[in-house]
Symmetry: C2
Subunit: 322 residues, 2 copies
Amino acid sequence: MGYNLGIDLGGTKILAGVLDNQGNVLSKAKRKTRADGSIEKVIDRIVDVTNEALVHSDVSIAKIECIGVGAPGPLDPLGEIVHEAPNLGWRDVDLARILREKFGRPIYLSNDVDAGTWGEFIKGAGRGSANCLGAFVGTGLGGGLVFDGNLYRGSGTMAGEIGHTLIDRDGPVCVCGRKGCLEAYTSYKYISRSIWRQVEQGKMSIITSLVDEPGGEICPPILKAAIEKGDEMVVDAVETSARILGLGLGSACNLINPDRIVLGGGVVEEFGAVYMNKVEEGFNVQAFKAARKMAKIVTASLRGDAGIIGAILLARSAMNGR
Amino acid sequence: MGYNLGIDLGGTKILAGVLDNQGNVLSKAKRKTRADGSIEKVIDRIVDVTNEALVHSDVSIAKIECIGVGAPGPLDPLGEIVHEAPNLGWRDVDLARILREKFGRPIYLSNDVDAGTWGEFIKGAGRGSANCLGAFVGTGLGGGLVFDGNLYRGSGTMAGEIGHTLIDRDGPVCVCGRKGCLEAYTSYKYISRSIWRQVEQGKMSIITSLVDEPGGEICPPILKAAIEKGDEMVVDAVETSARILGLGLGSACNLINPDRIVLGGGVVEEFGAVYMNKVEEGFNVQAFKAARKMAKIVTASLRGDAGIIGAILLARSAMNGR
């Protein structure tokens, strides 16, 4: 029996999982990334969390056939180097080589959103589709593309950046510095800002009683609590954000005519049906009728595991292809 | 020696061409579509213009190996039926069967923009690329996609509708009825309207002396004449339109990471470098640096012939694949 190791390296947390060759998750371990420190310390934490996962499943590293790592892109086409990861403060980090030396096993890096999309496509909510758009809404908005059953990475392995689709020329400033990108509307920052703007205008919301100090980014559980209490202002802010995401997905649908759109990420998981309904509403406005009828929008089903599952699958394909 | 026949059926004109098997254009003939009449009369004109092209090249219909037709989409996946062509006023017209009965030769329909993109990819300005976006700016704005060297049509052969990418939620109304689609900014109508708006505001332009009656759609040669005379208002209106197209192409570049973008169509041909420079400017604002560095924007090189060349190539592939 062979085993594989999946590592999902995010800006906030590192997730490691041991899977058998059937793709069953045997054990997982999670740790904070603490990317503000040195690269070495993040590497140490990757090694620690990986060892923890191995111990939990009682699988020795020698039994690991391959290691798949999902890392923030862009990466080099061979899956060796993290070229630029602003959330980690990394530039041109030779991550595959470093981890290969630590573990002594075959290793391959994929873009984290590509890995999540591929995991959902093969084992999750994207199964059975031919052309699938994955979109993951969290701190940022990332996308992955599957065309004719294959992961599409584009000419420089940079495809999928749906978050930086211009949606309004006079829109809010995005983290990338541009104005009116789709990601600028899907972030917690945008939702929080539109709530505080209304509070300033004297409108009432229970959010003021849930947050110690007004004006900052409101964390997802507090937004959710306000929605569950039926606070109209918060419901409205979250729904507006979801609806605009739907408009952007509608534009993408007109361009690439997919048969499945898988939506995942923390925001989608946190807000559930309230959010998805408004995404559909925006989508139905912008996407052509014939195109939207065949593009089923579904919620990602593997949740946090999509990244490690996809990273392993992509690593195994890369190994077999070499 | 074998020959092929290409037919480009547009809302304004029908172009027919006889090509040899090396893809050389031996003869062409053109006729107005006059789509306001009956379907039968348009079919008659297709037959007439085709016969005219055959006579010019002295090739008999019996020597035609296959007929490729570029038609406004969406079509059915087998290349038989025109499902919906608002410019022609057609719905579910069994065009391949009808023309097969008229000519008695193998025939295959492609979407006209797909045909143009494929023609440019194989024989024109897209040659040598792997992932190519074709965008044709005329009355409308159509797009075609080549991924990993293959024409990508999406799940319902509807891919490529880049004209209906939302670019501004409060933008002008598009012909499709939505607000702020990219196509709403690239049309002559938009350019004309922004000129007349400024004229109304009392600004000076020689356009008022070139047009009999103010307020309507200004035809391309008149716009071009005004630009050549250095009329700032017209230059500005055309440049604004081009810059916004560039922003939309930048969004698409972030999503699909192509290595070539081929721009064609009447508007591009009419305005040339003035237009292309502003497209580049907008593109450079919206597209990520690494992605835009590898996505070369070029002008289509086959001009009006891309459609008939591409339609024949696609028809031949479809025949061989069956």
